[in-house]
């Protein structure tokens, strides 16, 4: 078994999952008022 001919050169950089968007604090304050 050989790993064979090279096909491509990759740089794998895992991107962390984006956090759910949070409502900006300013708007919250306005709602409360």
């Amino acid at each position: 078994m050989k790993i064979g001919e090279p096909l491509r050169i990759i740089e794998a950089v895992p991107v962390p999952e984006t956090e759910p968007s949070v409502v900006p604090e300013k708007e919250k304050v306005e709602e409360n008022v």
Partner: protein, 462 residues
Amino acid sequence: MRNVNDCKCSMNNLRNHHGVVCTTCNTNTIVPLLVPNEITAYRVWKFNHRDGFSIRTNGRLGWYDFNQVVPPVFAEEIDFMKPWSGSANCNIYDHKGPNPYCSCGYYSIKNFANNTNGSFGHDSSRMIADYLNRAFTRIESLRDEEKKRITELLFYSPVAKTTEIINLNLTAEVSLTGNIIECEFGYRSQYIEPKKFFLLLDFDTLYNLVNFLGNQLGKDNAEKMYVTYQWIVFLDNYFTNILKLYGYEFELRFNTVGYSTDEFEPLTGDQSKNSTYYPLRDHPFYPKFRNIAYVLEETNKIMRHQLPSLGEIKNEFDKKDEGNLVDLTRRRYTALNKRYNQLANGRIVSLTNIHYRETIAEFFPTYASSLIAFAHFNVMLSEKPNNKNHLLAYPNLAKMFGFRYHSFLESKYSAEQMAVETTFTEEHPQHYFKGLYPYYLKQTNQNTPASESEDLFDEWSF
């Protein structure tokens, strides 16, 4: 999308083994493609029953070792027990692996359980067969009575059979990150991290080994099946507990080729990982095995079946030992010295270590001690906070080990000795598992016992 041109040079054959990029066909510098994800692949790590994954080689590695150890790259090992920690470094040239024009980097292949017998093969049953066959040839040279006793012990005891297996390939599903050279069948990568470990076996190979022993003892097929099943369960527990130490999951898988899967729905996707290897509990033979095991356990109870006893075997060998024949040749001296060195280095003595210059009566106590040490370590691994220093402190586990050990230990140590909590017997795993035992203590946050001081070490190192 590809960024490496195919090589059309006559030198092609020399390069394509290990995914080396041809400079003649790729004159421009290659810009790597960015992948916002880790890549899943499979590879094998060599596991040693004394040192775990930290394999010490002689420094010289063949191309075939690529599968098992980390060549020709050596990681900047952050954790010495984990050869996959850290980034890859070429050990031939001074550069970081994987270099496109070199053959360095962590190797892995794309398919799970593919090409089972090749150099990148994932099936470990052939390795097990090789080790046990070596033990069988040693047993063959013994006298009939001795042979029968040892064969019986090896037949019934999953501990004895597993002790013979010094190195074993464990397949891992790995995630690759950093710079990666993708090739036709596999990858060379900068970082590698196992996600889950597997042991892939072929049931027929295991059964044939047990069958060979069973035939010499005149056992029937049901008992051979039962013994094989017990061995499988032991292997499953052993590796599950070992990999729990390392913080990984483990799964035992069996080849289904040769079994009719008509009655069962074939597994797909992640369950089978597109291979013919199924998890033990999904394998077609599993329900049948459970039935055989159940019936035999019941009949053994009724028949009052007795497992081989280490103490009895030792006494029998002692009686028949030609005690008045003394062999004082230099060869004998070196043979026994070799054994003492092995023990001092914490080697587990297996049947292949019988030297032709020593009698079985001389060999057996050291062998029995390492069996007990191996069994004891298994028990330690399965219980978390573990402060018991010898096997007699546990309930009787003879059924799990496949041999009786009480009379052997009781004849060796007095009850007063064993009652003291700080007594460490000669059979304690700390003497045998020089690599794994300290790691076990570290992982379970147990302090190093006081008796591991210099005094005890001197006493042990002859």
